[in-house]
Amino acid sequence: MMMPRKTRPTFFNLAQIELPVGALTSIAHRISGLLLAVGTPAAIYLLDLSVRDAAGYARVAALFGEPLFRAASLLFIWALAHHLFAGVRHLLTDIDLGSQLQTARRSAWLANLGGLTVMVLALGAML
């Protein structure tokens, strides 16, 4: 009878697990969606304030000048852009466009970089 192997592989080095780019797009789609859901009440509040009266409108405009608010809105813009691009990628996959591994990887890169690009553009527009 064979002895059970005592040295079974238990290798689990997190730093060496490779996350495929599609997995990154997928988890970021989820995280960005949650960020958008959490930010929705704030966005509704801004809409409410901006149409209320002249003072409210001026207050919203002034908020966009504050660094902390800018940082938060940049995060929200990244979440929106990434969620939108990754979502379009999903819709295209639904109609069988880009399901091939090579194309899927390329479109995953595009979605990830697209979200970041929009954020950088928004930062540029703010400065």
Binding site: G33, L34, A37, T40, I44, D48, V51, R52, G56, G87
Partner: protein
């Protein structure tokens, strides 16, 4: 028989609302690029005009349905104890209902 199609409805809802919101984002972006509001009166007039406010209403309806399906999926994936799960879903549902009422108040009852 009905069970074979379970999950198809939220799946379809998620996609239809996504497409509508995509169009809305493009519409809003185009407005800000080509005809940005120059004063509070202009902005309020645009948002509360009959056409735009209907588009906004449809957008928020899409957003809340989309959020319900999406966050519900996340809760079902990660929150397992039954009580906690029901609590989380109830919180999500009541939050979305409250926001619906809030948006309705903004779009319908803001004095022009």
């Amino acid at each position: 028989m009905k069970k074979a199609f379970a999950g198809l409805r939220p799946w379809l809802l998620q996609r239809l609302t996504a497409v509508f919101m995509l169009l809305f984002v493009l519409f809003l972006l185009a407005h800000f690029l080509f005809d940005p509001p120059r004063s509070d009166a202009e902005w309020r007039g645009w948002v509360l005009s009959p056409g735009t406010s209907i588009v906004f209403t449809l957008f928020f309806a899409s957003l809340f349905l989309h959020t319900w399906v999406g966050v519900r999926d996340v809760i079902l994936d990660y929150v397992h104890p039954a009580g906690l799960r029901i609590g989380a879903l109830a919180l999500l549902g009541s939050g979305l209902l409250a926001m619906s009422a809030w948006v309705a108040r903004i779009l319908l009852f803001t004095p022009p």
